[in-house]
């Protein structure tokens, strides 16, 4: 469903993403992990069609996003890490607007929007302007907007930021059920427990390159580490070489 071939992104002399090759098939929930500044957000924003790759290709459902962006993007829903949306629209108007961007309207969209708002406890807020929503409520509205047009693929950057435990649980169930129906999700997260329990496969990206990729068993094998995802992640990203905490606190 998502295929990345030699995907590279450079900002001047700095290479943020360095020749990534990846295939995420339909019906898979794929986790994208890495330390801060490793290139996760840049990769996801390229897949969503927001950033243009310096080189390499991105295919969504077999369609090259550079050659036919409209068709490729019509299969996709994107959830960014920062919930910037139109402050002067109401929640219901925002969902209607997003559906309209995908050429969808009518009773079916209204019904779906209502269902999504109810799922995230936003129904009472549907006619209130977004400017009065909290950070978490905005994040939930963006998640709802990504599902409202029924995409085949969802690309999510840090879905849990600002969400309460109940919403996180709802989101996890939603993602699992969505993937069970044959759709695809590619998700970046720093919550390793979520990644370990939720994702079918995981890639760990370090300094713009994929350091390891596969199921939990594959990762254990590739990292020559028998522990959980946290230990594997720290080993691959070199975080275990962090300073002695005692020295830091006494400094």
């Amino acid at each position: 469903m998502i295929r990345l071939t030699n995907l590279t992104k450079k900002y001047g002399s700095f290479t943020a993403v360095n020749g990534i090759n990846l295939h995420v098939p339909a019906g898979e929930l794929f986790g994208f992990l890495g330390p801060n500044g490793a290139g996760k957000t840049t990769s996801l924003r390229m897949i969503a069609g927001i950033l243009q790759p310096t080189s390499g290709t991105i295919e969504i459902g077999g369609v090259d996003i550079a050659r036919d962006p409209i068709t490729a993007k019509s299969k996709l829903g994107f959830i960014p890490d920062r919930p910037f949306i139109y402050e002067k629209l109401t929640g219901a108007e925002f969902l209607r607007f997003v559906a309209g961007l995908y050429g969808q309207e009518g009773a079916e969209v209204e019904h779906r929007a209502r269902e999504m708002l109810a799922l995230f406890d936003l129904e009472e807020w549907r006619d209130e302007l977004v400017e009065s929503y909290s950070h978490g409520m905005r994040q939930k509205l963006i998640v709802a907007s990504a599902f409202v047009h029924r995409p085949q693929v969802i690309v999510v950057d840090e879905p849990h930021v600002g969400l309460d435990p109940k919403s996180i649980k709802i989101l996890r169930d939603l993602f699992r059920e969505y993937v069970r129906r044959g759709h695809t999700i590619m998700m970046s997260t720093h919550t390793l427990e979520t990644a370990e329990s939720l994702c079918d496969r995981i890639a760990i990206i370090v300094a713009g390159k994929i350091a390891a990729c596969g199921t939990m068993d594959d990762l254990r094998e590739q990292s020559s580490h028998g522990g959980g995802l946290e230990e594997i992640f720290l080993k691959l990203t070199g975080e275990n070489a962090a300073r002695d905490l005692v020295d830091v606190l006494d400094a």
């Binding site: 924003r45 969503a48 069609g49 927001i50 950033l51 243009q52 962006p69 409209i70 068709t71 490729a72 993007k73 019509s74 996709l76 994107f78 960014p80 910037f84 949306i85 139109y86 002067k88 629209l89 109401t90 108007e93 209607r96 607007f97 997003v98 309209g100 961007l101 995908y102 050429g103 969808q104 309207e105 006619d127 209130e128 302007l129 400017e131 009065s132 907007s145």
Partner: protein, 567 residues
């Protein structure tokens, strides 16, 4: 070394201002392509502006100086009027700025949450407010004082004396403005206060413009309207506003220039500044914590779909789902943002003033030739075009920049960027076209133009409206200000300046191209000579081609630019 356990942290005032200073320094020193050019253009325009103000005042004051007896009175009266208007602008600007700096700024969470003394916080934020709201008025004051000092031989000593007068003059409205905001925020939620203030500010400005124009102050400049010279001098001697700091600055300044320094005025200014500062600090101590807490509360903002919304939806139905949603979004965002729609009040006043001025043009009086009766309606076109390009700078130029933070949504959706530009262009152009045709229709009626001039005006203003809108969208996309949230600041950017210059050049070129056939027509009417149809077709076609190019080329460049934006 560890501090003693009993010593409480006490960050200094300069430390609190540190981030602002570092940000300004970083902005000034960061290498940026084209920055040199930008500075050069802005510097040149600024210098020209200064030279213009200085030149006008210099000529006027030279004339006043030559008038026996009442010359210094006239100069003082003029200074008083300028300072009163500065004082009103400063007061209003401080009330609005204080709302941002004291209650909505992003650094307040750290400062209010940190162990910062209330007086230091007040000092830091007041200084920030003074600078942000007074820099423009202070810059405008430089050529004004320079002209007074020059004409009345103030000498070098006038410079520190003028500074000593002006500093407390700027400080007083700042403290009062911050105090008004503090009280308002304790009564209304901060966001609601911002809405109320923006409407009040615009209505005040609009009211002042309207009042100033409708009383026709130029008539007061005619002494023959007064019964005697004694009456006239008596009016001039009456203080404009004896209890306002502007009066003290005027009195102090003029005394220095025509007689000797008036230290009482200087004392009054500094003593008042100190007194309001103490009072402001006491008010801050008493009300700030509760006000800041209230400012964090959001006002409830409901918006249910009404009949108007349904009507709009039905009217836009033929456009298809995508375009309809884009257009509806633009309209909703505009009319729900008080800082945006309230500008329409000012716009309406500008139009009224414009039409009012046309109405009172003495075109039918003796000595006005027939050629002037043809030239004036033609120049009316240029002026109307300039009014339109100013409106487009305020409302259409910022359109793409305002999309900055939500561009991720549009870029990741299956929508061609041309659709976005299409919606922005038409949502801006149609209302502007209606306005343009209304202005031209009414003014042409007042000027009693011939059918030929009427057709020329209507067709030309239509072409100019499209060109001005194309340029506004084009330059707004080529020089976007994605990080600026305040739409009113966007037109003052470098791109906004370039847009205005280009727009004025296009309007001027169209007028020049049409001048020849219009003059030919005028001459033919007066002297009963035949009209050269070939020449008319040639020049009018050239003007039409220019309008079409000015509409299409910027839009095409904008589209290419928008497709490459990465946000």
């Amino acid at each position: 070394m560890h501090s003693p356990a009993s010593a409480l942290p006490d960050p200094k005032l300069l430390h609190l201002l540190g981030p602002k200073w570092l940000t300004a320094r970083s902005r000034a020193t960061t290498a940026d392509t084209g920055r040199g050019w930008r500075l050069l253009v802005l510097g040149s325009v600024g210098l020209l502006f200064w030279a213009f103000i200085f030149g006008v005042l210099y000529r006027l004051l030279r004339y006043f100086r030559g008038v026996e007896e009442i010359g210094p009175l006239l100069a003082g009266k003029l200074l008083g009027l300028i300072l009163v208007s500065y004082f009103s602008i400063l007061l209003l600007s401080n009330v609005i700025t204080a709302l941002s700096s004291f209650f909505l700024a992003k650094d307040l969470d750290i400062l209010v949450g940190g162990p910062v003394d209330w007086l230091r916080l007040y000092g830091a934020k007041l200084l920030e407010t003074v600078i942000a709201s007074s820099w423009m008025v202070s810059l405008m004051a430089v050529p004004m004082f320079a002209a007074y000092g020059w004409v009345y031989d103030g000498g070098w000593a006038f410079i520190p004396y003028a500074i000593a007068l002006f500093v407390p003059f700027v400080l007083i409205p700042s403290v009062i403005g911050s105090g008004i905001t503090l009280v308002l925020v304790n009564v209304f939620p901060a966001r609601r206060t911002r809405d109320i203030l923006s409407v009040v500010a615009v209505m005040t400005a609009a009211g002042l413009v309207l009042l100033f124009r409708l009383i026709r102050p130029e008539q007061l400049a005619r002494p023959e309207g007064f019964r005697s010279l004694v009456d006239f001098i008596a009016v001039l001697r009456t203080p404009t506003s004896p209890f306002l700091p502007s009066e003290w600055v005027q009195k102090g300044g003029m005394s220095f220039l025509v007689d000797r320094p008036d230290w009482l005025s200087v004392y009054m200014l500094w003593a008042s500044a100190a007194a309001v500062l103490v009072f402001g600090a006491m008010l801050h101590r008493r009300l700030y914590v509760s006000g800041y807490s209230r400012a964090q509360e959001g006002a409830e903002r409901w918006a249910r779909a009404g009949k108007l919304s349904a009507l709009l939806r039905n009217a836009l139905a033929p456009l298809g789902v995508l375009r309809r949603e884009l257009v509806q979004k633009e309209i909703r965002l505009f009319f729900r943002d008080t800082t945006q729609w309230s500008q329409l009040i000012l716009l309406a006043v500008l139009v009224i003033v414009y039409v009012f001025n046309i109405k009172f043009l003495p075109l039918r009086t003796e000595g006005v030739t027939r050629i002037i009766q043809i030239v004036i309606p033609f120049l009316n076109l240029a002026l109307a075009g300039f009014v339109l390009s100013s409106i487009a700078a305020r409302f259409i130029f910022p359109a793409v920049s305002l999309e900055g933070r939500t561009l991720w949504l549009l870029r990741s959706s299956p929508m061609a960027m041309r659709e976005l530009l299409w919606a922005k262009f038409w949502v801006g152009t149609l209302p502007l076209l209606i306005l343009a045709l209304t202005i031209i229709g009414i003014t042409n009626f007042l000027l009693q133009v011939s059918p030929f001039m009427f057709i020329v005006s209507v067709v030309t203003i239509t072409g100019l409206t499209f060109a001005v809108c194309g340029l506004a969208i084009g330059f707004g996309t080529i020089f976007p200000q994605f990080e600026t949230e305040n739409a009113a600041q966007i037109p003052t950017s470098f791109g906004g300046l370039l847009y205005m210059m280009t727009s004025v050049m296009v309007i001027g070129s169209v007028i020049v191209l049409e001048a020849r056939p219009v003059a030919g027509y005028g001459a033919a009417r007066i002297y009963n000579t035949p009209v050269s149809v070939g020449e008319m077709v040639l020049w009018f076609s050239a003007a039409a081609v220019l309008c079409v190019l000015a509409t299409i080329v910027p839009l095409r460049v904008a589209l290419r630019r928008l497709e490459r934006v990465e946000r």
